[in-house]
């Protein structure tokens, strides 16, 4: 069976405010879906509901037919939901390499091993190193994550997600705040990931040129509700997106 990610009437309320409003959507393997919408539209919150950082007020989340709605975030991560965060979310005092190695170790499922030495698992370390190579961060491998520049922290965030080798990749504005010459590393990486053909990729992105380049499909959130869904060209051109982005970017 295809591992489809599905949200059905997914809803969350914060007090009186409905931040995600009955969003029903299916995401197919091999498809990169861009999620657009103005700030505060509920994109990050939608991600949090899918990857389990928040519990919904209503609705369901399924992956490959399994109901995830009531599973914890770590349980969902182990089932193949991988998440990179919009606000950089690293292990600040640990080295860049260790940040990624922890993700590789989580993927390998060896976290409960307290008898061997972490340093003796050269295979995990090598896999972490390979991910750092992909985002051009090997020169900073021994540096604590907290002292990296903003752009490098964003890259590390992406490297951690890649290291998890999930079935579902969720990128939340991966290039936000990056300089123009830093962006290609991340965008090329996502493009190659897409070319591998069998992953579900969700990308929250404001830059319309990036959306046009990478996305197979675009959905638009507005005030928490899904208001448009279709081919990038037609959605980006549609009136509703122009309205939603009026004054933001187009």
């Amino acid at each position: 069976m295809e591992r489809v990610l599905l949200t059905r009437d997914l809803t969350i309320r914060f007090g009186g405010q409905v931040a995600v409003d009955r969003v029903s959507c299916a995401f197919q393997p091999g498809t990169l879906t861009a999620i657009v919408g103005p700030n505060g539209a509920g994109k990050t919150t939608y991600f949090n509901l899918i990857s389990g950082q928040l519990r919904p007020s209503g609705g369901e989340v399924f992956l490959g037919g399994a109901r995830l709605t009531h599973m914890s975030a770590p349980a969902r991560a182990r089932r193949g939901l991988g998440r990179a965060f919009q606000l950089t979310n690293l292990f600040p005092d640990l080295s860049v390499l260790e940040n990624v190695r922890l993700a590789v170790q989580a993927q390998a499922g060896t976290g409960l091993d307290f008898l061997s030495m972490a340093a003796s698992h050269a295979d995990l370390r090598d896999r972490a190193w390979a991910q750092l190579e992909r985002v051009a961060l090997t020169a900073r491998a021994a540096t604590p994550a907290s002292v990296l520049s903003h752009g490098d922290q964003r890259k590390l965030e992406v490297a951690i997600l890649m290291a998890l080798e999930p079935d579902v990749f969720m990128f939340d504005e991966p290039t936000a705040g990056m300089s123009v010459d830093e962006m290609p590393v991340v965008l090329d990486l996502i493009e190659r990931l897409k070319a591998s053909g069998d992953k579900i990729i969700l990308l929250v992105e404001h830059k319309m040129d990036v959306v046009r380049r990478l996305a197979d499909r675009v959905i638009v959130l507005h005030n928490g509700a899904l208001v448009a869904d279709g081919e990038p060209a037609e959605v980006v051109a549609s009136a509703i997106v122009r309205e939603a982005y009026l004054g933001v970017s187009a």
Binding site: N89, G111, M117, L164
Partner: protein
């Protein structure tokens, strides 16, 4: 140490201090013969284990417990109770030690599992309550614990001062049961410390550090944070109990004041913070420092020459400050000075300087 855990103190000065501590403890009975010095040495070895086990919680996992003395006490009573009832010698020690460690680990993990689900601060409060409850139980359950008076007991003959292993003194020192006890404690403490060093450098130990750094992110990677925290608590509790069993052997007495008092909890915290949280070597140095301060600061003030007190002008001013019962004041001054000079603890700050 490298083949065992790959971990090193991380700075030449820290390495030197650790090696000095180890050498001093090993040579102690021959350099400073006598019960007093061996008492201090044994206490250092035991508190190295106790402080290191607390560091697994505070320094590596980032959770604050006030119940560490409870597990220390469980280990101590688990050895003392059977010995006091004369249920065999070595078997009592061995089985009591094992049973104490298992009980303490289970209890510690259970407290963590039940309370850490809520919030880290709730855990701290539960441990505070557990510590008070344990004090109450130890002083009320007179039939089992001997109440406030505690339990005095005899060790197997080979561990008593009257026992002579060698007929002739070695390097001018009698090799008696007291020395055997000391080396038994030292050897076990060393093994326990190395075991903890190995654990914090294992894949599991790395997850603990990740949880300390960012529990939210650790969960997003798929690590069940509650499980890891509970296991860390269990391990820390188990090691604390083993230290407690050693302490029972050393004192040949266990009572609420000697293993459960809140002063000990404060000492453990000081040892870890002064030495450097999350370094394991640091708390070892911190333990040596605090135990020595406890023993020798008072002595040093007592032996302050009378001439200082008799000095004109300065004498009346300084005299009261140098009274032997003011040693706690000086410990406080020393503590503030160390924290000022080493904000991340001794080993923590040395490592930072090395990196910078």
């Amino acid at each position: 140490m490298k083949p065992l855990s790959g971990d090193r103190p991380g700075h030449p000065a820290a390495t030197a201090l650790i090696l000095l501590l180890l050498a001093a403890l090993v040579a102690l009975p021959f350099v400073l013969p006598g019960a007093r010095a061996m008492g201090t040495g044994g206490r250092i070895a035991i508190f190295v284990v106790l402080a290191a086990s607390y560091d697994i919680l505070l320094g590596y996992t980032g959770i604050v417990s006030f119940a560490h003395t409870v597990f220390f006490a469980i280990g101590a009573y688990a050895v003392a109770i059977p010995l006091a009832r004369g249920w065999g010698g070595w078997e009592s020690i061995l089985l009591g030690t094992l049973a104490g460690a298992v009980c303490a680990a289970t209890l510690s993990a259970a407290i963590a599992l039940l309370s850490l689900r809520v919030r880290a601060i709730f855990f701290s409060m539960v441990t505070l309550a557990a510590a008070s409850l344990a004090q109450l139980l130890a002083s009320q359950m007179r039939d089992v614990t001997g109440g406030e008076d505690g339990i005095t007991f005899a060790l197997p003959p080979a561990l008593t001062p009257a026992f002579r292993l060698l007929a002739e003194p070695l390097f001018g020192t009698r090799v008696d049961g007291r020395m055997l006890t000391y080396y038994l404690i030292l050897a076990v403490a060393l093994i326990l410390f190395l075991a903890m060093l190995r654990i914090v450098n294992s894949p599991f130990g790395r997850v603990l550090q990740a949880i300390r750094e960012n529990a939210f992110r650790a969960e997003a990677l798929g690590y069940r944070v509650v499980t890891y925290r509970a296991l860390a608590s269990g391990l820390a509790g188990g090691f604390a109990a083993l230290a407690g069993s050693l302490f029972a052997l050393q004192l040949r007495y266990v009572g609420p004041d000697s293993v459960l008092s809140f002063d000990i909890m404060v000492d453990i915290l000081l040892m870890v913070v002064i030495g450097g949280m999350g370094t394991l070597f640091g708390p070892a140095l911190g333990a040596a420092l605090i135990v020595m301060c406890h023993t020798y600061l008072q002595l040093a003030l007592q032996s302050m020459p009378q001439t200082v007190r008799d000095l004109p002008l300065i004498g009346p001013l300084v005299g009261p400050l140098l009274a032997p019962d003011r040693w706690l004041l000086w410990l406080g001054v020393l503590f503030v000075a160390i924290v000022y000079a080493f904000p991340a603890g001794i080993v923590g700050t040395l490592r930072q300087r090395r990196r910078a």
